[in-house]
């Protein structure tokens, strides 16, 4: 371990000292123990082989001492909004009074102070991953959302994770959404900077989807500064006959690791993860997911599209494991990358691990360039080359958007993809 790494560890240990004594102290201590044993993930850790977090975090940025003044946050859509700014939930920026009937929201800090068993149980999930363990040990705040059993929400809930600009800071937050049995909701989630910075964010969202509950989840991770380091984790547990459909648009910026840990605990649960990544410059974006089928008759779908331009790097690792008890599992995983320049690279690694004998599972992964036949077809119809390329790239990304259920959301995402494309440098 070199000097910088020792310094980084000391910095993290001092963060831990500051928050080890709340209601989650046992959980934090266990998580800290896991982290201390493993250290920051690096290329020698198989799950992190393509993303070296230790190298990216040689210098740990400090936590922000004071909460920033309330900024004006643009509102993209009509929804009930909950805002986490830097490391704290901000009721003053949130629509707490507009929460629909059947929904409770409070800060994680408050929930931990009350020490509710339901919250602690939901937080105690999967923590073998060192970056996630670090998040559990150091979590500053977040939002705890509880949706009552049977409650069907018409309007989406929106969880905004915002980071302010200025000097680089460390941010550790964790939010929860607990859906009671038979509840149905749409959760829109954003990760965005107020201005580009070198912030080091480690944020997690825990989704607990009760029996028969249905959740639509759409996340967007906006462009950040080149020095930014972001780890965004999603932990989901699914009850019997429940359904989770989760989409994420990644716009790159610095180093991003998005990791999904999903467990289908109840029988006949249905989970779908999809996403599109738009990468250019020196962006490095890693999507790694682990889906565990623990029970009978589960269904899982993963569908990802990566567009990698200039000198950017994309990573996709998908591992679907099917336990012996999870007979009749049906799983399909697909990850395709489109490389738009010689300097672009993609690491695409789907994996299956099956212990049950009566399952239908498949996966496919490709990396390629724009298809010459498709380009010629469009050009032969009068579409100029650049425009034809744009149509094909857009079409490639749009395939992932088809997995988003709500049309208005889909259109808003499509507009962001077009905007990204219009910023494509012409190298001719």
């Amino acid at each position: 371990m070199n000097e910088q790494q020792i310094e980084a560890n000391l910095m993290l240990a001092s963060f831990f000292e500051q928050r080890k004594n709340d209601a989650a102290s046992d959980l934090r201590a266990r998580a800290w123990e896991t982290f201390s044993r493993r250290g920051l993930p690096n290329r020698r850790v198989e799950e992190w082989h393509y993303t070296d977090l230790r190298a990216a975090l040689r210098q740990i940025a400090p936590l922000r001492a004071a909460e920033p003044a309330a900024p004006t946050l643009a509102r993209e859509r009509s929804s009930c909004r909950l805002v986490v700014l830097d490391g704290a939930f901000r009721p003053d920026l949130s629509d707490l009074s507009a929460l629909p009937y059947g929904v409770r929201a409070q800060s994680l800090r408050e929930a931990l102070a009350q020490g509710e068993a339901e919250v602690l149980a939901a937080l105690a999930g999967d923590a073998k991953d060192a970056a996630l363990a670090l998040n559990a040990a150091l979590m500053q705040d977040g939002v705890v959302l509880r949706i009552a059993p049977g409650c069907v929400l018409e309007r989406p809930l929106e969880l905004e994770n915002v980071v302010s600009g200025g000097a680089a800071q460390s941010v550790y937050t964790r939010s929860l959404a607990i859906l009671g049995a038979g509840a149905a909701a749409t959760l829109l989630e954003t990760y965005r900077p107020l201005e580009a910075s070198g912030a080091q964010e480690n944020r997690a969202l825990v989704l607990s989807v009760g029996d028969g509950a249905k959740l639509e989840h759409v996340a967007t991770i906006s462009k950040q500064g080149e020095d930014a380091v972001r780890v965004v984790s999603l932990l989901a547990t699914l009850g019997e006959m429940s359904a989770l459909n989760s989409f994420c648009l990644v716009e790159g910026g610095g180093l991003l690791r998005r990791q999904i840990f999903a467990t289908l605990n109840g029988a006949n649960a249905d989970v779908a993860f999809s996403g599109a990544s738009l990468l250019r410059g020196r962006d490095h974006a890693d999507t790694t997911l682990f889906v565990r089928h623990e029970s009978l008759g589960g269904k899982s779908r993963e569908f990802f599209r990566h567009i990698v331009d200039e000198s950017a790097t994309g990573v996709f690792q998908g591992k679907v494991s099917v336990a012996q008890a999870a007979q009749k599992t049906n799983g399909v995983m697909q990850s395709k990358a489109l490389l738009l320049s010689d300097g672009a690279s993609m690491n695409n690694k789907p994996e299956l691990e099956i212990f049950a004998d009566d399952v239908v599972c498949g996966h496919g992964a490709t990396c390629g360039r724009l298809d010459a036949d498709q380009l010629f077809y469009l050009e032969a119809r009068g579409v100029p080359e650049r425009e034809a390329e744009a149509l094909l790239i857009e079409g490639f990304a749009n395939e992932a958007l088809e997995h988003v259920a709500d049309e208005a959301t889909r259109e808003a995402l499509a507009a962001r993809i077009s905007a990204w494309l219009s910023g494509r440098e012409v190298l001719q």
Binding site: D373, F376, E379
Partner: protein
């Protein structure tokens, strides 16, 4: 309007077209028949501007202008249309989005105003109704999940919408059953006009029962070996291409 003079084309070391001469007049339907592997598809690609073919000699004149230096989209704007033997599937690109992009790109290139959505929709719907293209097909990604017959109908729909000056039909009959062949041929026949020429490339006489040619050219070994009227197609149907393959180069 289309004059091909002494065209020599190679792919790498291999010579495909070897001094081909051909003229298609305004309003004329010219059929090109010939055995497999004689360069019929190469001819259609070279005229429409596909990369990967090296023209070593000769000219392709469209209304007197040599178009060989033009990009495919520029040729399209000047009125060249290739109905593909195997129309390409493009997932993620809605058929309507594609049609509008193509039509308006051509209009822009010609200095015409772009069509607004209502006007565009009206034109598409009219053409679709004539060709039996159902609305559902227009909503799907381009050519995805279409049957062979549906893909060819979509080609003809594009032809009707783009109103080209020169239509090249590359083996349009391949993969079509009799009913689909009739629909597609009716679509083509409806587009015959005195300022529009057709180059119908086919392997079999069958297509020419539906699209009656004015002239028939026999192509083998990279050039036109014989030209005549519709009776030539009938003759080929009985005698085959044997005589042409047999001729020493």
């Amino acid at each position: 309007m289309l004059e091909i003079k002494n065209l020599h084309v190679s792919i790498g070391e291999r010579k495909i077209l070897d001094g081909l001469n051909l003229t298609v007049h305004d309003g004329e339907v010219a059929a090109i028949m010939g055995p497999n592997g004689t360069g019929k598809s190469t001819l259609s690609y070279v005229v429409s501007g596909r990369e990967g073919y090296e023209v070593t000699q000769g000219e392709v004149l469209l209304n007197g202008e040599n178009i060989l230096e033009l990009a495919p989209h520029e040729r399209a704007a000047k009125g060249v249309f290739l109905a593909f033997q195997y129309p390409v599937e493009i997932p993620g690109v809605a058929t309507m989005t594609f049609l509008k992009a193509a039509l308006n790109a051509q209009r822009r290139a010609r200095g015409e105003e772009e069509l607004q959505t209502p006007d565009f929709m009206k034109r598409v719907n009219e053409a679709a109704a004539r060709l039996g293209v159902v609305k559902e097909m227009l909503r799907r990604p381009l050519n995805c999940g279409f049957s062979g017959g549906e893909k060819k109908r979509m080609e003809i729909l594009q032809m009707a919408l783009l109103e080209p000056r020169l239509c090249i039909l590359d083996e349009t009959d391949s993969g079509l059953d009799i009913d689909a062949l009739r629909v597609v041929s009716d679509g083509v026949n409806a587009l015959r006009a005195k300022d529009r020429g057709f180059l119908v490339i086919t392997h079999y006489q069958r297509l020419l029962d539906y699209i009656k040619p004015d002239t028939v050219h026999v192509m083998a070994r990279g050039r036109i070996l014989r030209s005549g009227g519709p009776e030539l197609a009938l003759e080929l149907e009985t005698s085959g291409y044997r005589d042409y393959i047999g001729e020493a180069a």
